[in-house]
């Protein structure tokens, strides 16, 4: 057993320990979807921990399993699964001392919205077009609170005011299409926070918004987290977003975690070639305009047939650095590369440090 961090959000997964001390602990989570073409392994063995009041940023490209992970925690793969094809989920998700995957679905349903809430990427499609903002917030509140509509509506107005919507007592009766994109996302945040959830999952909360509004929404989320003291998981492909908000960062590739650790470590001493690629492809204001972004070559791997060995090997410029073709035959495990900092790569510490310092860092 390795160290269990009390203060930070990420620590080595502790297997066979039934009583985790972390607020949220995910152990070896697997989410597989059977399809006609084969089994899609969207998430394949993911573990992490998160404490209250901390923010975890999950980063990765499309199809790396970020959203599937968040929906898995919310129990939304099993709720509303109709027909024969059901998602196959295994592993453990401990929230506040309760394991959710083996819990009664109705119990998990009651946790949804109250203990754990979610903000979605596109607030226009995530809000029901036929109900007013107020009706939707009132509904969210009244599922978990036995109050009359009037009280709930007062609460809705209060929440809209809190997230910075002007004239909340009037706007509460507006429909989603009458709001601007940023206002809609504020309303969505108001709705998810109406029950003071202890865990808030934000799935690409700013992706659908324009840049000026993005910063406002991120500020709002930071303020609200301080106020409510909840644990936050922020899912994004935008490293800029996690840089602003996250205490810890988890980088996903092909349904697995390839690097995680405190935000400053992942940003300033990344130890995985894929993380280097992400950093290299991030536009930055402090860089010369004439410089080109460095894309990660190739496309995301097929989740049905992951490349053997390290899933990143076909796109990795350093795949031949380790000896004996090991990158193509053996899947690298997460190993500690520093205090609370893990990476899954076959290169030795020294090789990675040298490449980072000599080849990657100067170009960033």
């Amino acid at each position: 057993m390795t160290e269990l961090s009390k203060s930070g959000a990420v620590a080595e997964p502790v297997k066979d320990s039934p009583a985790p001390s972390a607020f949220l602990e995910v152990r070896d989570l697997k989410v597989h979807f059977p399809t006609d073409d084969g089994l899609v392994k969207s998430v394949d063995g993911l573990s992490f921990q998160l404490e209250k009041g901390k923010t975890l940023g999950i980063v990765g490209e499309s199809g790396s399993g970020k959203s599937v992970t968040s929906l898995g925690i919310m129990g939304l793969h099993t709720a509303g699964q109709y027909g024969k094809r059901k998602a196959q989920i295994s592993g453990e998700i401990w929230l506040n001392g309760t394991e959710l995957l083996s819990a009664d679905p109705d119990y998990v349903r009651k946790l949804r919205g109250r203990e754990m809430a979610m903000i979605f990427q596109d607030p226009l499609s995530a809000l029901h077009p036929y109900y007013t903002i107020g009706q939707q917030i009132v509904e969210a509140y009244r599922i978990h609170h036995n109050v009359d509509k009037k009280t709930a509506k007062r609460r809705a107005v209060e929440m809209l005011d809190r997230v910075g919507i002007p004239q909340p007592d009037k706007r509460v009766d507006s429909y989603p299409h009458e709001f601007s994109g940023g206002m809609r996302q504020r309303a969505m945040i108001a709705m998810s926070l109406v029950n003071n959830p202890e865990l808030l999952i934000a799935d690409e909360p700013t992706t659908a918004l324009d840049v000026t509004v993005q910063a406002q929404i991120l500020d709002l989320m930071r303020d609200l987290q301080k106020e409510f003291g909840s644990a936050v998981i922020i899912i994004t492909h935008d490293l800029g977003v996690v840089a602003e908000l996250a205490d810890d960062i988890l980088v996903m590739y092909g349904g697995r975690c390839i690097e995680r650790g405190p935000a400053e470590k992942v940003f300033y001493e990344p130890r995985h070639p894929y993380t280097w690629g992400l950093l290299g492809s991030m536009p930055r204001l402090d860089r010369e305009q004439t410089e080109r972004l460095i894309p990660v070559k190739g496309s995301p791997p097929s989740l049905i047939n992951l490349p053997s060995g390290c899933a990143f090997n076909p796109r990795c410029p350093y795949a031949d650095v380790p000896k004996d073709n090991v990158t193509r035959t053996v899947r690298p495990e997460l190993t500690e590369v520093g205090g609370r900092h893990w990476a899954a790569c076959h290169m030795t510490q020294e090789q990675r440090e040298r490449i980072w310092i000599e080849e990657i860092a100067p170009k960033l």
Partner: protein, 332 residues
């Protein structure tokens, strides 16, 4: 909302005038161009020339077309008096024409037949909505299972089998074979149970066809809606699955169903010709079928007008309901 309503009403009124003019054109102008004598077709082929001439005068067929249209419109609101050939025929308002062939005004025929068709259409609509939508929802929720397949096979056969087949089959089994149901039309004001007994088979036959279509559209729409982000949001709030489906998903699924219902009801009220003739119901469909056989043009004209009116009203109601259901419609 009120402005929307007024705009729709105005559009409907304009549409109605246009329809009357087009219908008039079809029935009075086209035969004229084709060189067919309208007056003799109104009287009947073997009529004597004096009678034909009388009808020609009564209808003002020698007058310019606009004055004929005007007389027709005036008749609807003020009634009409046909005179010519020495005798005078009165047609009280609303006068939708006069059948010189069967020697009766058209309007009483319409009002006589209309309740039968309305009862048939509404009763069937209730059945097909309940069963069609329920089957569609169930089949969407049990997608890919034996229930889904079974329901869709039944639906496919419902769409494919014509009414005169299913109607005849049910008559052969339940009326003439088992003697369970006496398929005789009894007016509602004579006997409620008799009316019900006479209508039950036509209802089921008609509803089977439509329920099949509604089941298919409900299934497709429901499947699409279930994939929407706001359904996921509803679940993320912690709503019970019954509420997610029954409230959030159903509300959106209703929109296309309502559109279809408006058009189908409108068209059916104009006469369910096949059902009415299979079960011998004295509705508008029967009336127009008989009129076509007898070349009784005024009746055909009257039924056509009523049909268009029914479609218009049904669509107007749908449009208003649309605005009630979907707040985004109110804006435009």
């Amino acid at each position: 909302m009120l402005a929307y309503l007024i705009r729709r009403l105005f559009a409907a009124a304009v549409m109605l005038v246009v329809i009357v003019m087009v219908v008039f054109g079809i029935f009075f102008l086209v035969p004229k161009w084709a060189g067919v004598d309208i007056a003799s077709s109104f009287v009947g082929k073997q009529a004597d020339p004096a009678a034909v001439e009388a009808v020609r005068q009564k209808l003002g067929l020698s007058d310019p077309i606009y004055s004929q249209v005007w007389e027709f419109f005036k008749g609807i609101f003020a009634g009409r008096t046909y005179s010519g050939g020495g005798d005078v025929t009165h047609c009280a308002a609303p006068c939708f024409g006069y059948s010189f062939r069967s020697e009766q005004a058209v309007w009483p025929v319409l009002t006589d037949r209309f309740p039968v068709t309305l009862g048939l259409a509404l009763g069937a609509a209730v059945l097909w909505l309940v069963f069609g939508v329920a089957a569609g929802v169930l089949s969407a929720l049990k997608r890919g299972t034996i229930w889904d397949r079974g329901a869709m096979v039944v639906a496919l056969s419902g769409v494919s089998l014509p009414i005169y087949f299913t109607g005849m089959l049910s008559l052969a089994i339940f009326t003439f074979g088992l003697h369970w149901i006496n398929a005789q039309y009894v007016p509602l004001d004579q006997s409620v149970s008799g009316w019900f007994g006479g209508m039950i088979m036509p209802w089921i036959t008609l509803a089977f066809l439509y329920a099949a279509m509604y089941a298919r559209i409900t299934r497709a729409t429901m499947l699409e809606i279930l994939g929407e982000d706001y359904i996921r949001t509803a679940r993320a709030k912690g709503l019970k699955e019954q509420v997610v489906i029954g409230k959030h998903a159903m509300r959106s699924t209703m929109t296309p169903i309502l559109t279809m219902l408006g058009m189908d009801l409108g068209a059916l009220i104009g006469g369910a010709i096949l059902t009415e003739s299979t079960f011998n119901l004295p509705g508008l469909g029967r009336a127009v079928l008989d009129a076509i056989k007898n070349q009784d043009l005024p009746i055909i004209l009257g039924v056509t007008l009523i049909t268009s009116l029914a479609v218009l009203i049904a669509n107007l109601v749908v449009d208003v309901l649309y605005a009630v259901i979907d707040p985004r419609v109110r804006l435009s």
